[in-house]
């Protein structure tokens, strides 16, 4: 089980908003695939999948705010 965590995005940036999930719960993903797109200020950015496996649970959906360090999703490694 691998946790997908919102990493540090720069000084003073505490949170970001989920703008797009590239995969749905239950779907298979490969390491480095674009997993989720988030937005902060006038920038969008992506989080690639840290491993290959199945996206088992998404905790924050499109439009939700996430704090740096929080777990966005869980991947069951294959």
């Amino acid at each position: 089980m691998t946790k997908v965590v919102l990493p540090e995005l720069g000084e003073g940036i505490e949170k970001a908003t989920v703008s797009y999930w590239y995969f749905k719960e239950g779907e298979k993903i490969n390491e480095k695939d674009d997993l989720v797109e988030l937005t902060t200020d006038k920038a969008t950015f992506n989080l690639p999948s840290p491993c290959s496996g199945m996206l088992s649970e998404i905790f924050f959906h499109e439009g939700d705010e996430v704090n740096v360090g929080e777990v966005l999703a869980i991947i069951e490694e294959s």
Partner: protein
């Protein structure tokens, strides 16, 4: 470490968008670590990720009648307009070689524009939470970027010509009731686009050299 400049004239938005993605791939493959694409666009309205077509005041067929293209894009921000009277700059920077700080990069883009404006004796301002560069309550430059694997694309537009502001009335720029201005409007005289372009290239070069030195 290498910084490449791609200096184009009037380019279709979609072509420039595709070109950015090609350069992005080259940077991802580490052929070089930063690029600046400069161009102007035929009239186009783009909608960013925080945007909605509700912020376009006219119908899609009406836009077509007026010869204005429409695209939904992956950059941050809401609706904006680009036309031939603006200078467009797309910095494709691999932030893995600089500072991995999203807001810092946005603030640096604002700073370059403010610096450019000051060369013309204009006092460009920034307001917290209202990314872009302002002259009092009017906006002169807009910013919206996308970052993938810490490589940036999309970028900034500076309103240069005074006769290309009318189409902003077709949208609610950034989803707000914003009045736009241009370099020519503020100066009340004509300005050569190439002068602004060369000035901006110089500013980017200096900034790149500074950043490179800091990160050695």
């Amino acid at each position: 470490m290498e910084f490449r400049i791609f200096n184009f004239g009037l380019v279709d938005f979609k072509k420039a968008w595709q070109f950015q993605k090609e350069i992005f791939k080259e940077i991802k493959n580490d052929y070089f670590n930063a690029a600046l694409i400069l161009c102007r666009h035929y009239p186009v309205i783009t909608v960013g990720r925080q945007g909605s077509q509700e912020n376009i005041k006219v119908s899609v067929p009406e836009l077509k009648n007026r010869g204005i293209q429409l695209y939904e894009v992956e950059r941050g921000g809401d609706v904006t307009y680009h036309g031939p009277g603006q200078l467009i700059a797309y910095p494709v920077f691999n932030l893995n070689y600089f500072k991995k700080d999203i807001h810092l990069f946005l603030r640096q883009l604002e700073e370059l524009i403010i610096d450019l404006l000051s060369d013309f004796g204009i006092n460009g301002l920034r307001y917290k939470g209202l990314t872009g560069v302002w002259i009092d309550k009017q906006k002169i430059a807009s910013i919206g970027i996308a970052i993938r694997n810490w490589i940036t694309f999309h970028g900034l537009s500076i309103n240069v010509k005074k006769d290309d502001l009318d189409n902003f009335s077709l949208i609610k720029p950034c989803g707000m009731d914003i009045e736009m201005t241009s370099l020519e409007s503020v100066l009340n005289r004509g300005v050569e686009m190439d002068n602004i372009k060369n000035n901006l290239i110089q500013k980017f070069r200096e900034s790149y050299e500074d950043e490179k030195t800091h990160n050695l």
